[in-house]
Symmetry: C2
C-alpha cells in the first residue's frame, strides 16, 4: 500500500473537524494545535548525520508546523529508539537540550524503546502549541486574487543535502540549512492575523503550493524567477531555470508559504521588518485548479517531480 493509499484510509477514520481532514500541518483542538512527525534513518536523515543535528531536525520540523499555524509552542513529547550506541544517544540528548533551549520549549514526556540490532533508528515527536487568538490559519483558506509569499530563501537545504552526499563542494550556509532548519515561529505568530492561508514548505515549494491550491479549491501561479535564492546557493549553482526548478522542488526548507490579500502587502512587509525575516511575493491565486509556473512571463511546463514524496 502506498503512503497515499494508507493516508486515504486514515482520512476515512479521521472525520472529527479537529483533524482538518488530515490535510493541514496540524490538528486544531480548541485553542491548541497538535502535530506529530517522524524521522527515520536512511529516509529522512543519513546514517552519518551528527546525532545533535538529527535531534535538532526532529524538533525543528515539528515546530515548523506549529509556526505555520501562527501558534506558540507549549511543549513536546518524544518517541525515541535506543540503538545501543551510547555515544550516539548522549549526543542526541545534547542536541535535544540545545534545540529545546533555543526555542524555550519544554520537554513534557514521551517514550523510549530498544530496537533490534541493525534496525534503522526511528524517532517521533509530538508538538503542542497554542493557536493565535485570530485562529490557526489553514492551508485551505486561499482566495482567488490572493498574493502568495514565502519567507527566507528556497532550496538551500536541497543543495546542503547534495553537499552532504559529496556531489558538490560544501558551503556552510547550505549545510546549516540542511542540518539545522530554523522554524519561523516569531514570524508565523506575527503574520497569522493577516493571512488567509499558511503552511510550511517541507517537501518542496511546488508540491506544497500544489497542496495548498488543492485544499483551497483554487489555482496558484508561481513566478519562478521571483523565488528567492540565497547568495550561498548561487555561489555553487548558475542562476538558470533548471537551478530555480531544482530549488523549488527540493525539500527541507521549513520556510513559510502564505496567502494574503494584495491590499495587505504593506502590512506583510511591516511584520517582516519587525521580525527581521525576509519575505518575497512569489505568485498569486486564481480561479482554477493546480499550479502553474511562469518564468519571465513565459509559461513553463511543470517538472515531473514537484517535490519530496515520502
Amino acid at each position: 500500500m502506498s503512503e497515499a493509499d494508507f493516508i486515504a484510509r486514515l482520512r476515512a477514520i479521521a472525520t472529527d473537524p479537529a483533524a482538518r481532514g488530515l490535510a493541514d500541518d496540524t490538528a486544531v483542538l480548541g485553542d491548541l494545535v497538535l502535530t506529530h512527525d517522524m524521522i527515520v534513518e536512511g529516509v529522512h536523515f543519513l546514517p552519518d548525520d551528527r546525532p545533535q543535528d538529527v535531534a535538532w531536525k526532529l524538533v525543528a520540523v515539528n515546530l515548523s508546523d506549529i509556526a505555520a499555524k501562527g501558534a506558540e509552542p507549549l511543549g513536546v513529547l518524544i518517541g525515541y529508539s535506543l540503538s545501543g550506541d551510547a555515544a550516539w544517544d548522549a549526543a542526541f540528548a545534547a542536541g535535544l537540550d540545545e534545540v529545546l533551549g533555543r526555542y524555550a520549549v519544554p520537554l513534557l514526556g514521551g517514550d523510549t524503546v530498544g530496537i533490534p540490532a541493525g534496525a534503522p533508528r526511528s524517532f517521533g515527536l509530538t508538538a503542542i502549541g497554542k493557536a493565535p487568538a485570530s485562529g490557526a490559519p489553514a492551508r485551505s483558506g486561499v482566495r482567488p486574487g490572493d498574493q502568495l509569499w514565502v519567507t527566507g530563501t528556497i532550496g538551500n537545504a536541497g543543495v546542503g543535502l547534495a553537499m552532504r552526499l559529496g556531489e558538490i563542494d560544501a558551503n556552510e550556509t547550505c549545510l546549516a540549512a540542511y542540518r539545522r532548519p530554523l522554524p519561523q515561529l516569531a514570524f508565523g505568530q506575527a503574520i497569522a492575523p493577516h493571512v488567509h492561508a499558511m503552511m510550511d514548505i517541507s517537501d518542496g515549494l511546488l508540491i506544497d503550493a500544489e497542496r495548498m491550491a488543492r485544499a483551497s479549491g483554487c489555482d496558484i501561479t508561481l513566478m519562478i524567477e521571483a523565488v528567492p535564492l540565497s547568495a550561498a546557493l548561487l555561489s555553487v549553482r548558475p542562476d538558470v531555470l533548471d537551478t530555480r526548478l531544482a530549488a523549488a522542488t527540493a525539500g527541507d526548507d521549513y520556510q513559510l508559504l502564505f496567502a494574503a490579500d494584495p491590499g495587505a502587502a504593506a502590512t506583510v512587509r511591516d511584520v517582516a521588518a519587525q521580525t527581521g525575516i525576509a519575505v518575497t511575493p512569489v505568485g498569486h491565486a486564481g480561479v482554477g485548479e493546480g499550479i502553474g509556473l511562469v518564468h519571465k512571463a513565459q509559461r513553463v511546463a511543470l517538472p515531473v517531480r514537484l517535490g519530496f514524496m515520502h
Copy 2:
C-alpha cells in the same frame, strides 16, 4: 546507553513542572494530560500478531495512561511506519478504526513514513485527554496508611503471551487479554476524585508498585495471596506462590493500581459497582521505601525480576 541512563538524561532536560519529572503516566499541561507510547515489532508485539490487534494495543496502551489520570480522551495522533505489505497495513487501519470507535476517540493527525525493507515495524501514538476537575492523580501521591487496590485480574496477558509463544495450551480469555487490553477509562474517571495516587499496570504489578512507592517516598506492602487471578489463568496454572509471583511480574495487564484512604473503601466499592469493574485491595503503604511481599502472613523475598524492563 541503557534506557534508564537515557531517561536520566531526558529528565535533566524535562524540568518543566508539566513533565512531572517524566515519572508519571502522562504530562499534565493545564487541564490536559498528554502521553506518547511506542510499540516495536519483536519487542512489544510479535511479528505474527494480527495487525488489527497491534493497532488495538497501540491505542489501548496509550488510553490506559489516560485512564490512570482519570482523564477523558480527546483524541490521538499516530506515527505509522509503512512496511510495504498492503494487506498488513489495511488490516491495521481496520483495527485502528475499530478501537477508536469502541472508545469514541477521534484520530486527529499524525505522520506516515516508509521504512527500509526488512526493518521492524515501529509505531507511536500520542493521546490527549482532559483531566478531571479534581485534578489528574499522580503516581507520587501515596500516603503512609493508604490502602492499595487493583482493578480486574492480574497476569492474564502474561499467560496469553505464553500461549501465543506455544508454551501452553491457549484459552480465549488470556489470549484476548494479551491481544486486546481494555483500558479502564470509565472506572478511572469515576474513581479519580477518591484516590491519592493512581497509575496503570503496564510492566508488571510489582515493578509498577515499586515505582509508585519510590515516587511517593513511602513503602508499599503487597499481600501476594490477595492479588486477583482469573479463573482462566487458574485453569492453566496451579494456585501456588510461583504462579502468583509470575502473574505479578508479567506485563501488559493495563489494569489500574491506586491508593486511597482506608476510610474510602466503601466509596471505592460503590464506584466499582457503578462502573461494573472488580476491585481488590492488595496491600497498604507505610513509612519506609521500596516494596515488600507477604504471602499468608509470611514475608516473601522479592523476585530478582520485578517486571518487564524495555
